[in-house]
């Protein structure tokens, strides 16, 4: 299939994705620690958003905060990596028997054959911010923060390698809000190339001043609970989350119980550092690339978990793209009213929500929204009970980096 979107400069069809099974998955966010709590919040339409109480002079907004992290230091053998981001990673790892699933994969394949591809936007920068707030008289970091392990973008990737006792490829993807969607693409390539037999993909991003004051400086945060795709939406809420999935090559004889990654698509807007392309050209090509790799048409997509940040521009452009590309029968929603925008962790959190939707036969709606953006019949505010065979998750980022993922029920 040749690309039909103008300006893509691709000379050939994308290589088909290898069919990959998702052997285990989990997400921890303000909507709940682990899959059962997340599912329960989604079903009961309970938002995890609360008034911003983060830091000494909080920005006037709502946030999706994971409570209790400040009181839960890492266990002794991992304390060298102690910081908010790695505590959140540890909390996330300890849900849904994820560590046991990785341990089983390590036993099956060997420690050097299990890779880690971790997405994050700001990683452990919160620890660096803290150090700058508490410099000594000579302008140096205080002793307890004088630790290079928590002042580098790869901090959480390195932490995971030790926490999971793995020796395979270990790399951090930092493409802002598409980071932990793109980890599935990179993981798929490692499996297809035979460089790994299993890959722990995931994303961890924690609240910090950089993003709260940063998005505030761009006038992108809402003072209210965010209302994705509402005609009166006025900005985003920031959140924090950790999520992981264990991906392996699909069994030749699928047993019908394990979900699969059917395809992924990636593209760039080539437009602006912090504004999406006005016609959504990059979003369209990521979706087209994903469907081409999966060998499916848009009509085969039952549910789309949208990027839906509740910013004026993103939602307007995304709604247009969805309406033009998908069948009116496709269900589409943004779940950021539950979690907030978890930035580098948004890709994995929303991938996990999409997997939960497939597993439990229901499409979450859109929370806090009363009047939907017109012209996009796919958008839903209410939850819908429906047997779903396929679900897509969309992630778009600063720097114009876009990623689409397509999941299916194995059968």
């Amino acid at each position: 299939m040749a690309d039909t979107v103008a300006g893509l400069h691709r000379h050939q069809a994308p290589a088909p994705s290898a069919r990959l099974r998702i052997s285990a998955y989990t997400a921890t966010s303000a909507a709940g620690c682990g899959n059962a709590a997340t599912l329960s919040s989604l079903r009961s339409r309970t938002s995890g958003l609360s008034r911003n109480n983060f830091g000494s002079q909080p920005v006037d907004t709502y946030i999706g905060r994971v409570n209790g992290l400040q009181d839960e230091p890492l266990p002794q053998h991992l304390k060298q990596w102690d910081c908010r981001n790695n505590r959140l990673a540890w909390l996330g790892l300890n849900q849904d028997e994820f560590i046991s699933a990785v341990e089983a994969a390590r036993q099956r394949h060997g420690a050097t054959r299990v890779a880690i591809v971790l997405g994050t936007s700001t990683s452990s920068i919160g620890a660096t911010e803290e150090a700058y707030r508490s410099l000594d008289n000579a302008g140096r970091f205080p002793q307890h923060l004088l630790n290079p392990l928590i002042h580098t973008p790869h901090s959480t990737g390195d932490f995971l390698r030790h926490a999971l006792s793995l020796d395979g490829i270990c790399v951090t993807v930092g493409t802002a809000c598409s980071s932990s969607a793109k980890v599935f693409a990179q993981g798929e390539r490692l499996l297809r190339s035979g460089l790994a037999d299993a890959v722990v993909v995931g994303g961890v991003d924690s609240l910090c001043d950089s993003v709260l004051f940063g998005f505030n400086s761009l006038e992108l945060v809402s003072r209210e609970r965010c209302r994705p795709f509402d005609v009166a939406r006025d900005g985003i809420n920031l959140g924090e989350a950790a999520g992981f999935a264990l991906i392996e090559r699909a069994l030749l004889e699928p047993d019908g119980t394990v979900p699969v990654l059917l395809g992924y698509g990636e593209s760039s807007d080539a437009f602006h550092m912090s504004s999406p392309h006005p016609q959504g050209v990059g979003a369209r090509s990521a979706i087209a690339d994903c469907l081409a790799r999966a060998g499916l048409s848009a009509d085969a997509v039952n549910y789309v978990n949208l990027h839906g940040t509740a910013s004026r521009k993103n939602d307007e452009i995304e709604a247009k793209v969805i309406n033009e590309l998908f069948s009116p029968n496709t269900l589409a929603s943004s779940t950021k009213g539950w979690t907030g925008h978890t930035l580098g962790a948004a890709g994995i959190v929303e991938a996990v929500i999409t997997l939960l939707a497939l597993q439990h036969s229901f499409a979450p709606g859109t929370l806090n929204t009363t009047q939907l953006e017109p012209g996009c019949p796919q958008l839903r505010t209410d939850n819908t009970d429906a047997s779903l065979r396929t679900g897509m998750s969309l992630s778009f980022a600063f720097g114009g980096s876009n990623c689409a993922l397509l999941f299916g029920r194995d059968a």
Binding site: G7, L8, H9, A15, Q57, Q80, A111, T112, S121, I125, T128, E129, A131, Y132, R133, G139, R140, F141, L145, L146, N147, P148, H151, T152, P153, H154, D158, R161, H162, S165, D167, G168, I169, V171, T172, V173, G174, T175, A176, L190, R192, S193, L195, D209, S210, F213, G214, S217, L218, E266, S268, D269, A270, M273, S274, S285, A397, F398, G399, S401
Partner: protein, 281 residues
């Protein structure tokens, strides 16, 4: 697994005393001496003039070496997917952000904020070249070059096309410089193809190998054995976090051979370089 062959189509490099591939390769081969004084930061000509002046160092250097490698490969930049690797991202912006957040957070610059993302250089590259092809931006502590190279090789192999690799790091600034050790400015780039074409300059056989030691229980801060660059060239970029890239570029310049590029405490890439067209590099 058996070795895979990729092809180096183009090369770019910039450091204060390695200003561009043409000079750098002659410096590596001891044909000329390195400039005694540090050279001025390269001008990223592909950016509009107002953007060019205010571009952060990481962006200016990444765009300059990416452009050089594409021109060397005679590839249109907008046709190539790309992999951007940096150990620490733009540490000058990190220092600015943390300092401002500690003193006057409400005055944080929105432009510096959006330039603080790890994919800023990749994003500016896409905007400047009009490339809608995917890019990624990765980091892997002191294995950042090795993992960037690996991801570019994997993309070239699995999607059967040429891929641009750009790797860069700059000096740490402010209080962070006491904790994060990287100095100077270094950027380097390769265009890597998956099949032999008239654009191929070197064949690059690559294979991932286990280094044969058990996972270290200690954090990965102490150096392991690296394939070291020759002393004189190494001193030109010594201390920069992307210095592990240097042996690859030295080998391309003057002595195509086998080299080892670490990608983790227990894994490395075994690389065998051989010329495709004599004298074309």
């Amino acid at each position: 697994m058996s070795a895979t062959t990729a092809y180096i189509e183009g090369v770019g490099i910039w450091s204060e005393r390695l200003p561009g591939w043409d000079m750098a390769r002659r410096i590596f081969c001891a044909e000329i001496a390195a400039p005694a004084e540090a050279c001025k930061r390269p001008s990223p000509d592909i950016l509009p003039p107002n953007e060019r002046r205010r571009a952060p160092d990481t962006v200016a250097i990444a765009l300059a070496v990416g452009s050089e490698a594409c021109a060397h490969a005679q590839r249109e930049p907008c046709t190539l997917p790309s992999v951007f690797a940096s150990t620490h991202g733009d540490l000058a912006i990190t220092d600015y952000m943390c300092e401002t957040l500690a003193s006057t957070p409400e005055l944080l610059s929105p432009i510096r904020f959006h330039n603080s993302v790890h994919n800023a250089a990749a994003g500016y590259w896409a905007i400047a070249t009009g490339s809608m092809r995917p890019y990624t931006a990765i980091s892997a502590d002191r294995y950042s070059f090795g993992n960037g190279l690996l991801e570019a090789l994997v993309q070239a192999q699995s999607d059967h096309e040429s891929v641009l690799l750009v790797a860069y790091d700059i000096a740490a600034r402010g209080p962070l410089a006491n904790v994060v050790s990287t100095t100077g400015r270094l950027g380097c780039a390769l265009v890597l193809g998956c099949q032999r074409t008239p654009k191929s300059r070197y064949a690059l056989q690559w294979q991932m190998r286990e280094t044969g030691q058990q996972r270290k229980s200690t954090p990965s801060t102490e150096p392991d054995h690296l394939e070291t660059a020759s002393t004189e060239s190494a001193s030109l970029v010594a201390g920069n976090a992307m210095a592990p890239a240097l042996p690859m570029f030295e080998a391309i310049a003057c002595s195509p051979r086998r080299i080892v590029c670490p990608i983790g405490p227990n894994l490395h890439l075994e690389l065998a370089l051989s010329p495709v067209n004599e004298g074309s590099c």
